[in-house]
């Protein structure tokens, strides 16, 4: 076995270098035997603090089972490609933590085990969380906590202007215009041509009734595009939004260059660590008073890749059960400022973190990006990005932009 293993590593490494990821073919016959007592996890916890905190949760869960957990962490945008390379050499980890928007593509490969078959207990989770981890009606992944987008505002600036945080689009435009003065814009959002921009566009697109499976149908999409365009044309938002990712938007807010922004709870550590700007969270404005906002649900889902050794799958399932106990979910949710996905844990989270309550409420009506279009999501997202970019830069009208987007998305 050892000779076999020794030979295999360089050869498959060579093969991987050559083709990025070639089908390893015959090489897999000699796959290295992983330690049966160790559960491996591929995730994006590259931040040292998060990695350590995560390890503590894993260890607490693994110890009673007589197991150890080893995390392999790579940057978030490399998890999918790394996992694909591992799949081709038959060396996938026992737990694969994917971004919610990537789940469909992996589930479609038939390489993931339905969670129910691993002994995972899916009772007591919120519907939106279940849909985030499901493909074609089967649950393949579980999110410990989820996030969404809200309106974060500078309390001092609003109070000075005698304004309340806006709740409707009309109020948003008026408030943003009133807060724009000197070097400060009233509003900031990310309209970058990538996942950040698309994520931020969705609450407006969906709340207005836009449909990602039929981009050019109805007027919702056009209205959402028009709102963004109006904010920029009014001068209430910078023309640079087309370049800003969510991090840039937060930087603008923290430096006092914008009074309000759309952003997510992952910015909370940065916001809490500074004291130059007083801030609070409000729900995202909706087209008409009284409507429910429909923001996207974000977060990572833990999946169990198929393994010829069912014991390993069962171990993974047992660890997922433990990680998702009410107490562990709550602890993790508070650690990363995300909302737990068990209804009971979410309730406790809401009570213990009243300042972040709008996020907890938004998650209840949030929608999964892939629930409707599944594996087509990357193309749809790309088409949406093209649409808001061309409208914001004045290249086309909202209607034209959506027509083109529908074509691009292959409808």
């Amino acid at each position: 076995m050892t000779t076999c293993r020794r030979r295999r590593i360089p050869v498959s490494a060579l093969a991987l270098t050559l083709a990025g990821a070639t089908v390893a073919g015959g090489l897999t016959a000699c796959a290295a035997q992983p330690d049966p007592g160790t559960v491996t996890v591929l995730n994006s916890a590259t931040d040292a603090k998060e990695h350590t905190a995560n390890q503590a949760f894993f260890d607490t869960c693994a110890e009673p089972l007589g197991l150890k957990v080893k995390q392999i962490s790579v940057p978030a945008d490399q998890v999918a490609t790394k996992a694909l390379r591992m799949a081709s050499s038959d060396s996938l980890p026992d737990i694969l933590e994917l971004d919610g928007s990537e789940l469909a593509q992996f589930a479609e490969t038939d390489g993931l085990r339905p969670l129910a078959e691993t002994g995972f207990d899916a009772e007591g989770f919120s519907d939106s969380a279940v849909s985030l981890g499901s493909y074609d009606g089967t649950q393949y992944g579980v999110a410990r906590s989820v996030n969404s987008l809200a309106l974060i505002y500078n309390t001092t600036m609003l109070a000075d202007a005698g304004l309340e945080p806006p709740t409707t689009w009309e109020e948003l435009r008026a408030t943003a215009a009133a807060l724009t003065q000197g070097n400060t814009y009233g509003m900031a959002f990310s309209a970058s041509p990538n996942a950040d921009g698309v994520y931020q566009f969705l609450p407006f697109f969906w709340s207005a009734g836009g449909d990602e499976a039929h981009l050019a149908e109805g007027t919702g999409g056009q209205e959402a595009l028009q709102l963004w365009k109006d904010l920029v044309d009014d001068g209430s938002a910078s023309r640079s939004v087309v370049n800003w990712n969510q991090q840039d938007v937060n930087d603008q807010f923290v430096s006092g260059r914008t009074a309000m922004m759309v952003n997510g709870p992952w910015q909370v550590p940065v916001l809490s660590a500074q004291d130059s700007v007083e801030w609070a969270v409000a729900s995202i404005p909706v087209p008409q008073a009284g409507q429910d906002p429909v923001p996207p649900i974000g977060g990572t889902v833990m999946t169990v890749p198929k393994n010829s050794d069912t014991d390993r799958e069962r171990n993974a399932g047992a660890i997922l059960n433990c990680l998702n106990s009410e107490q562990n979910q709550l602890g993790w949710g508070e650690r990363v400022n995300n909302v737990p996905t068990r209804a009971d844990a979410a309730q406790a989270y809401r009570e213990q973190n009243p300042e972040l309550a709008p996020f907890a409420d938004l998650v209840a009506t949030a929608r999964s990006r892939t629930a409707e279009v599944g594996t087509r999501w990357p193309m749809v997202g790309d088409a949406l990005a093209g649409a808001f970019q061309s409208v914001l830069t004045g290249r086309s009208s909202p209607a034209q932009a959506l027509e083109r987007a529908a074509q691009q998305a292959g409808e």
Binding site: A87, T109, D110, G111, S238, D382, T393
Partner: protein
């Protein structure tokens, strides 16, 4: 080679058959020759030939995430090629790649050459200034791009406030936020990055030109411009070819700079074939279509590589 040629083997209308002993020793010699070349050939085949062939095959296959799990990538004929060529973005990306490459090369080369000529004169602190000019080369591309993103910010960027102070522009120039300016901005940044490379190579080339030639030209009454055009440039030609071809190869496939600077936006105005390959392969996970665009890039590079080899061979023929 010429020293080993036996009289029997000199060109004759009807060469006499070589003695058997000669033939076997010649064969052994050939085997040895190949043995020495073999490592290089194997290396090239493994690290250049194999990926190239795979990439070409991939562009005719339905290569998706499923392929990685099942190992099956059914051939789908020209489907990928058709999909890419009917994608509106492809035409735009191709045209923008041309603009980006030509713009960058012209800028890098002219400024690099001007600086190289400038530094052939000796003056105090010339070494220090040259060292500073090399800086862009030392900074990782992504870092440069991030810094330039801040410099070119429409509202708070240093570049706009600088232009305003000089009275050159009234309002903010939308360097990165307008589709009609963004590509130019990307070119400008890439020129900045490419100047040191051009300067260093051309400077080296200038050092090779014997001083006497210039002196002779001066004696013949040629002014500085005339000397540069009729003496310096022609003697610099082999180096110029190298600089331009290498510059072309590294510019045509630029990816990290554009991704970090504009992400291909706004409104796809800075998408090039490089960013398009990235987008298709790694964001949409359609590796087949990504391979098609990659192949187009390879083809373009290959054309220039062949041109380069021909020019070099012509030069070698002239004893350069």
């Amino acid at each position: 080679m010429t020293t080993t040629v036996t009289p029997e083997r000199t060109p004759e209308p009807a060469p006499a058959p070589a003695p058997a002993g000669h033939r076997s020793s010649a064969r052994r010699r050939r085997v040895y020759q190949w043995l020495f070349v073999a490592p290089a050939v194997l290396y090239l085949l493994a690290f250049f030939g194999f990926p190239l062939v795979r990439n070409i095959l991939m562009s005719f296959q339905e290569y998706t995430p499923t392929t990685y799990f099942t190992g099956e990538a059914p051939f789908n004929g020209l489907d990928n090629w058709r999909a890419v060529f009917s994608n509106e973005l492809f035409g735009d990306a191709l045209w923008q790649t041309v603009l980006f490459t030509v713009g960058s090369l012209v800028g890098q080369f002219t400024i690099g050459l001007a600086l190289a000529v400038f530094f052939t004169r000796r003056f105090p602190l010339s070494g220090a200034v040259r060292a500073v000019l090399l800086l862009p080369w030392l900074v990782p591309m992504v870092v440069s791009a991030v810094v330039w993103r801040r410099i070119m910010d429409e509202d708070h960027g240093v570049l706009n406030s600088f232009l305003e102070t000089l009275g050159l522009s009234g309002g903010g120039v939308p360097w990165l936020s307008s589709p009609s300016v963004a590509l130019l901005s990307a070119v400008l940044v890439n020129i900045w990055i490419g100047i040191p490379f051009n300067m260093v190579i051309l400077y080296g080339g200038l050092q090779e030109i014997p001083r006497e030639v210039h002196e002779a030209a001066a004696l013949d009454g040629a002014g500085p411009w005339r000397t540069f055009r009729s003496v310096t440039l022609p003697m610099l030609r082999p180096v110029v070819t190298v600089v331009l071809v290498l510059g072309f190869m590294s510019t045509v496939k630029v990816l990290d700079l554009i991704l970090a600077l504009t992400g291909g936006g706004p409104a796809d105005s800075t998408q090039t074939l490089g960013t398009m390959t990235y987008q298709l392969s790694f964001l949409q996970l359609d590796f087949g279509q990504g391979a098609v665009v990659g192949n187009v890039l390879i083809l373009i590079s290959a054309v220039f590589a062949v041109l380069y080899l021909r020019v070099n061979r012509a030069n070698a023929g002239r004893g350069k």
